[in-house]
């Protein structure tokens, strides 16, 4: 019963934005790496003009994928960009 109450109290957010500092802290990565990922064109911040960029959840997902490809498979940034472009193309081709 207590568990059920707890479940209903938890707020689940489907839409959120994180600042670059929040992303760095959350994923345990350096700001410079995120900037390089943006410069490679892998991820776009919410407002490109802002000096301290923010990221929506789609961009955060893409950042996490980039990070895991880098850490787990040793892929460099241009390789990550290529891999993600190809994966996007596979998804597009799978569409009914």
């Amino acid at each position: 019963m207590h568990d059920k109450d707890k479940t209903h109290e938890m707020r689940v957010e489907e839409h959120f934005i994180l600042s670059i500092n929040e992303v760095c802290h959350s994923l345990g990565i350096e700001k410079q790496w995120i900037i390089e990922v943006i410069e490679e064109g892998i991820v776009s911040p919410v407002d490109v003009k802002k000096s301290q960029p923010d990221f929506d959840q789609q961009a955060i997902t893409r950042l996490k994928t980039s990070l895991s490809l880098h850490r787990d498979l040793g892929v460099n940034l241009s390789g990550i960009a290529l891999a993600l472009d190809l994966l996007d193309e596979i998804e597009r081709l799978k569409r009914p």
Binding site: E14, Q57, T65
Partner: protein, 300 residues
């Protein structure tokens, strides 16, 4: 913990060289990495592969594992020959294996080299079915997260949490539960980020919030239209088919996709099916249709 055959996991012979082990890891890591893999169960396979490689790439750990494996093999051969049961004093093979794993992986293995304070946010993936997304789902999760204790040791902490996945989440969508992450050294609660993955469905194909279903129609159904029972995520519905202008025409069932603001739609795609067997009488009717088409071919 069940014994794992690391050579089998890596597709290698027990006599594999260190180079072969490295090559096999790199190849399989690309195949099973959850962010690129198209295989079912990729995440579990990737984790098992990582564990196998961690042991086999290190000659000392590999030697210890080989010795233990040989010992277990000899033990089970001996007990099957003499029909003995393992005495209560000897720990089971499973316990010995667990002890070995805890010894090896408890040695402060660092995956990320970082001078940062250990992040207290938890990032995890959850796999759910399309039906789970349609109805919403309460799910209990077991989450592991790294924690740096007061001695500077990196340990794996586990957290169990029951959450409510909202209706209508799409594939690869992230949801955030503030304050439900791990705890930092200072005792601050972090946030929990869940990446939802929707499992492929045998009947429905998902595109964002829209659902696509594929129906076979017999030639007379294509021409005459009529009622057809069609599956949807909310249950089967009766649809009145119009006379189709072409087989590529698709029908839209509004708001029958994933819930949301706005909800997705369901699209029905058609393909032509032929009856399993065509009787002589039916064949005559087809021949009539064919000759009528030839006669009136100027109308096409």
């Amino acid at each position: 913990m069940d014994y794992k055959d690391y050579y089998k996991i890596m597709g290698l012979d027990k006599s594999a060289s260190q180079d072969e082990i490295k090559r096999s890891y790199r190849k399989l890591a690309r195949k099973y990495h959850p962010d690129v893999s198209q295989e079912a169960g990729a995440e579990e396979k990737f984790k098992a592969l990582g564990e196998a490689y961690e042991i086999l790439k290190n000659p000392e750990k590999r030697a210890e594992y080989d010795a233990l494996s040989l010992h277990w093999q000899q033990q089970s051969q001996a007990s099957s020959q003499h029909n003995q049961q393992t005495s209560g004093n000897n720990p089971s093979r499973e316990q010995q294996f667990e002890d070995f794993i805890n010894r090896v992986f408890g040695q402060g293995r660092t995956q990320h080299s970082s001078d940062f304070e250990s992040p207290s946010d938890i990032h995890a993936r959850v796999q759910i079915s399309l039906e789970d997304s349609y109805h919403g789902l309460e799910k209990t999760l077991q989450l592991n997260y790294p924690f740096v204790n007061a001695n500077g040791q990196r340990i794996d902490k586990r957290k169990t949490i029951k959450i409510k996945i909202p209706k209508g989440v799409t594939d690869k969508q992230q949801i955030r539960l503030k304050g439900q992450g791990g705890t930092s050294q200072q005792g601050q609660p972090g946030d929990l980020y869940l990446e939802i993955h929707l499992l492929p469905h045998p009947i429905f194909k998902l595109e964002h919030k829209d659902v696509h279903v594929f129906i076979d129609l017999f030639p007379w159904e294509v021409v005459l239209g009529g009622e057809k029972v069609v599956p949807t995520l909310g249950g089967s519905v009766k649809v009145t088919l119009p006379q189709l202008k072409e087989i590529k025409q698709r029908l839209r069932l509004k708001s029958r996709g994933l819930p949301g603001a706005p909800p997705g739609d369901q699209y029905i795609h058609f393909s032509l099916a032929l009856p399993k067997s065509i009787s002589p009488d039916a064949k005559k009717l087809y021949q009539q249709l064919a000759s009528e088409h030839q006669t009136n071919s100027n109308t096409y």
